[in-house]
């Protein structure tokens, strides 16, 4: 089933290839003249949809990911968590019924006694169990690898919460009124970290990455071998959590 997913992606990218090449030349020609510089920047992660000029879509040539360097993360700092709650309009959690898209954990290696602190969130797997189990297809993976919940088709069955091995999916247990306009969310749906998709599509980093004071978080395109994240991942041999499950998470860790 997971293989089917990647096949579908490949099909899309192949049929799109010639069109994209054409569009790229058109965009290059027109870009300097008529397109806003902002849109030009956006074409890094977004391809221009054919039907509607100026409308950009998530591109399968990109795989957004995060590198979390636990050796740089401070145990007493929760800037990323606060930034996430503020950016996405999430109230600060008070009970186990409240949602957490990101959490700080501090672990101890029982053999060496060494402690490590780092944030954990949705791992944006290439083969996400939450997508496999969702009966309506509301839980889905975008072309650029970001795993999201389509709240229009989520029926609130919570099977994805059961399926996620990272405890990254939450269910909204109470009415919501404090939504941010760019982050719609409401009672009765499952949800999780969106990798700040609304910021990423604007060419910005996720809020947690922007807020990290020590540079422990790095965001970028794992598919691009020249990107900063891909180079660091290679350098540090950064690995995902629970690599035994072979879910190919887009979030990699160093020092865990």
């Amino acid at each position: 089933m997971n293989r089917n997913d990647s096949c579908r992606d490949r099909e899309i990218s192949e049929t799109d290839r010639s069109r994209r090449a054409f569009l790229a030349s058109v965009a290059t020609a027109m870009g300097a003249v008529s397109l806003a510089p902002g849109i030009f920047l956006m074409s890094v992660g977004h391809e221009v949809a054919a039907a509607d000029e100026g409308v950009r879509r998530a591109s399968a040539s990109v795989r957004w990911g995060l590198l979390i360097d636990a050796t740089r993360c401070r145990a007493d700092c929760d800037a990323c968590v606060l930034a996430c709650h503020q950016e996405n309009g999430l109230p600060l959690p008070q009970s186990s019924a409240d949602v957490r898209w990101i959490r700080k954990v501090t672990l101890r290696d029982p053999k060496s006694g060494a402690e490590r602190s780092f944030p954990a969130m949705c791992m944006h797997c290439a083969h996400p169990p939450c997508v496999d189990v969702c009966p309506t297809g509301a839980s889905f993976k975008r072309a650029d690898g970001i795993v999201l919940v389509n709240r229009h088709t989520c029926i609130g069955c919570r099977y994805c919460v059961m399926a996620c091995p990272y405890k990254a999916r939450n269910f909204v247990h109470a009415p919501v009124t404090t939504q941010k306009p760019e982050v719609p969310r409401g009672m009765g749906c499952a949800e999780g970290c969106t990798l700040c998709v609304h910021r990423v599509d604007q060419g910005k980093e996720p809020a947690c990455v922007a807020a990290c004071p020590t540079g422990a978080l790095l965001f970028g395109d794992l598919n691009d071998p020249h990107s900063a994240i891909a180079q660091r991942v290679r350098e540090l041999n950064a690995r995902p959590l629970r690599s035994d499950l072979k879910l190919d998470p887009g979030v990699r860790f160093f020092g865990v």
Partner: protein, 139 residues
């Protein structure tokens, strides 16, 4: 006997029709007294809408329905149809919202036609924390 019965029958029929006419008239009167279709305020100074009022009234569910898949699943940004844009143009001057009060733009009509308004269960229908896509402002 027969003729009388027929007359009687016709009279009954006529009376039945009369009742029906009265009922219709009463219904119309009640609806008219209740105020008829709601009067919603529009703000032309906020700029033109995507289409004329009649088209918008008829087609806005279809437009939103088609766009929601493209935005959420395909990741389309900068689309013509954007719910946040609807809110920022149509929010009431006092309530700053399309749903907060009974006279607000979306709610007034949806209440009137008794169609459940599900968008603002998740989408923010009140201005205030708005950071519009169009402005493209970043940090």
């Amino acid at each position: 006997m027969v003729a009388r019965s027929r007359w009687h029958h016709a009279a009954l029929l006529r009376r039945w029709r009369a009742w029906l006419v009265t009922l219709c008239a009463l219904t119309i009167a009640v609806v008219a007294l209740a105020g008829g279709p709601p009067q919603v305020t529009v703000y032309p100074e906020r700029g033109p809408c995507l289409a004329d009022a009649a088209t918008m009234r008829r087609d806005h569910p279809k437009m939103l329905h088609e766009q929601k898949h493209r935005t959420v699943v395909l990741g389309e940004r900068g689309a013509r149809v954007q719910l946040a844009q609807c809110v920022s143009c149509h929010a009431g001057a006092q309530s700053h919202s399309v749903v907060a009060s009974e006279r607000d733009f979306c709610r007034a009509c949806h209440d009137y036609v008794a169609v459940k308004l599900d968008c603002f269960h998740c989408h923010q229908g009140t201005l205030g924390t708005q950071s519009a896509w169009r402005s493209g402002e970043g940090r």
